[in-house]
Symmetry: C2
Subunit: 417 residues, 2 copies
Amino acid sequence: MKVASKVLTRRDLEALDRDDPLREFRDRFSLPEGLIYLDGNSLGAMPKATPARVREVVEDEWGRDLIRSWNINGWIDIQQRIGAKIGRLIGAGDGETIVADSTSVNLFKALAAAFELRPDRKVIVSEPGNFPTDLYVAEGLTRYLGRGHSLRLAEPSDIEGAITEDVAVVMLTHVSYRTGRMYDLQRITERAHAAGAIMLWDLAHSAGAVPVDLTGADVDFAVGCGYKYLNGGPGAPAFLYVARRHQPNIRPILSGWFGHASPFTFEQSYRPAEGIDRLTVGAPPIISLTALEVGVDLMLEASIDALRAKSVQQGVIFEELIAQELGEGAVSLVSPSEPAMRGSQLCYALANAWPVNRALIDRGVIGDFRAPNILRFGFTPLYVGYVELWDAVATLKKILAERSWDRPEYHARTRVT
Amino acid sequence: MKVASKVLTRRDLEALDRDDPLREFRDRFSLPEGLIYLDGNSLGAMPKATPARVREVVEDEWGRDLIRSWNINGWIDIQQRIGAKIGRLIGAGDGETIVADSTSVNLFKALAAAFELRPDRKVIVSEPGNFPTDLYVAEGLTRYLGRGHSLRLAEPSDIEGAITEDVAVVMLTHVSYRTGRMYDLQRITERAHAAGAIMLWDLAHSAGAVPVDLTGADVDFAVGCGYKYLNGGPGAPAFLYVARRHQPNIRPILSGWFGHASPFTFEQSYRPAEGIDRLTVGAPPIISLTALEVGVDLMLEASIDALRAKSVQQGVIFEELIAQELGEGAVSLVSPSEPAMRGSQLCYALANAWPVNRALIDRGVIGDFRAPNILRFGFTPLYVGYVELWDAVATLKKILAERSWDRPEYHARTRVT
């Protein structure tokens, strides 16, 4: 797919930036001068409004108002409040989304609940290329239960066939962290329901990146994280969506006081709170949540459709630039070639991906390396412009042409991410 | 127990403040002018160093260094780094403490691990007055497992008798949130071990408040929170201690990618990390953790023995002032009368505790109400002086004498905490 039949120039991309309806959002983020940040799908950039709001929660709400802030500054329902906002980004209904814990912990809650909702079934279906923590959490729970519970893995092309009548829950990541491949959420959900299974979607690479309609697709559970496209800050708490119809039937495996019907009467026995509140657990990290809320509020100002349109166009152009500038065979696209089938990132396999990525970072182009040989470039339309795509590809071209990646320090594997 | 045979005066307390070896720490905290804060055991005060450090992690580490901060700013091992510092406050050995998740989630991990370490046993022993979330978490896990697992509750005086040979784990809070009563940690641990049970201590009201020697007592598991005496900020992440001898034998029920032996090689199957690292789960909330580290660092500067000595003296004096100023029968002490048997708080039962507490707050004395009829006053020796105890009691005396608590707005139960 080509945007234009002619060769693309940097000037063409400047024109696209000028006409970009989302252009104003770029100034709402703080990014170092000259840095090309194509890793917002790993850690989103910092909204300029965040430091002042964080200062306020620390100095005024904590430092001055102290314990009273649970009441007077709304700490007590911050998990529901931010959850409701994220719910609007993913097509959830009122009272179906909270912010709590990490994505991993929320996956655990959802899987455990799914087994109780389908007491005669013991199989979790997923794919081997799912994000590892999803698989690890499923493995940890099924191993612990040890009563024939198991995790069944099938390649994406075989997923539908794997959803048989013994499956309790299908757990998939909507947009693959590794390839950017996007599932047909509605179709897979329908297939799960047809087999009587619960559908659990991991929206880590979807929320704030692609339109999601959980209500329209009748999804049962969903999780996702706050620190990628939602720009909520490092390790920002995660979200959990539970369809309203299931909420009254869930007795949380993680029964904490925040999920009690009356946390501050200190009753001896657990009584689940109404609705999704029962899936909160312990006291939430207020400062990190406050930063998350700023990111979510900013995301809510943008049109998800405009955002998706720009994301798709950025992907198409990036793909075209890679082909045009690097020529055949330098790298090979791992992501689907059809834009509608991929999220807001492109992944390429290439030899020496690790040192090439190190060399890119040293030259101010931050993407991601994903084992074993993948370079991942994320497009975050709120703050990444078109010209930056040109400059990123130009930098990659130069690194490959000059073999400047081939330095001992770039080969060293001392870094953890 | 009386400090002096004479009647105490405000001047006596001024003298104690002048001679207080911890006095210098008061200036390291930011507290509103004139506020008497006796609720540091619910939410600790803000260290003055916190805002600058939080600004740094937000603006520089996130905003400027972005994803690189996992490596260059030490985010990747922040859970181990802060854990090690807290470990020094509770007598843990190297590599036995991490910071992760909430206290509730850590209780869950520990209880689940205890059942695996004692596979032939299915009973959790606790007391009905334990902090509710401890009981709720135990209830949630035992109910979910549903294979004869149960929670056995015994009053503190009967605890030792309840620890029979069928007990997998004894779970107690070292210092009671409601009465301040402190268990003999070594003795109960020995009793648990004699019966072949695992010992799990909740140190929420102990860490940073009273000396704890987990190594000396050979404790198996401990948890606690960062937002009370550690002054880590609202909802600060919690800590988890696991004795080194158990670590290799634990397959975490919550198996997340941060607890994997190699999180960033994205392997398909879970391989537990070495040691306690395996009990981390998801990406941790870095901003809240950064605030916690400031509080812990400050606490490490103080001598825990000096801190305990002042705490004990503050309790004795407060008790004496209550008796001297309020007279017989106005309130009744719920905490143990022997200072060595209580933590860093005093609790009194009285009629109309709820509106009295509201009236105190309106007059700048912040303690805590605990259902059904308890006023709780916490002593945090790093920033609470002796004169404040006088002023708090004087305020309480005036409220009771003038019945100024008896206003409709003070009776209303609109507040959640």
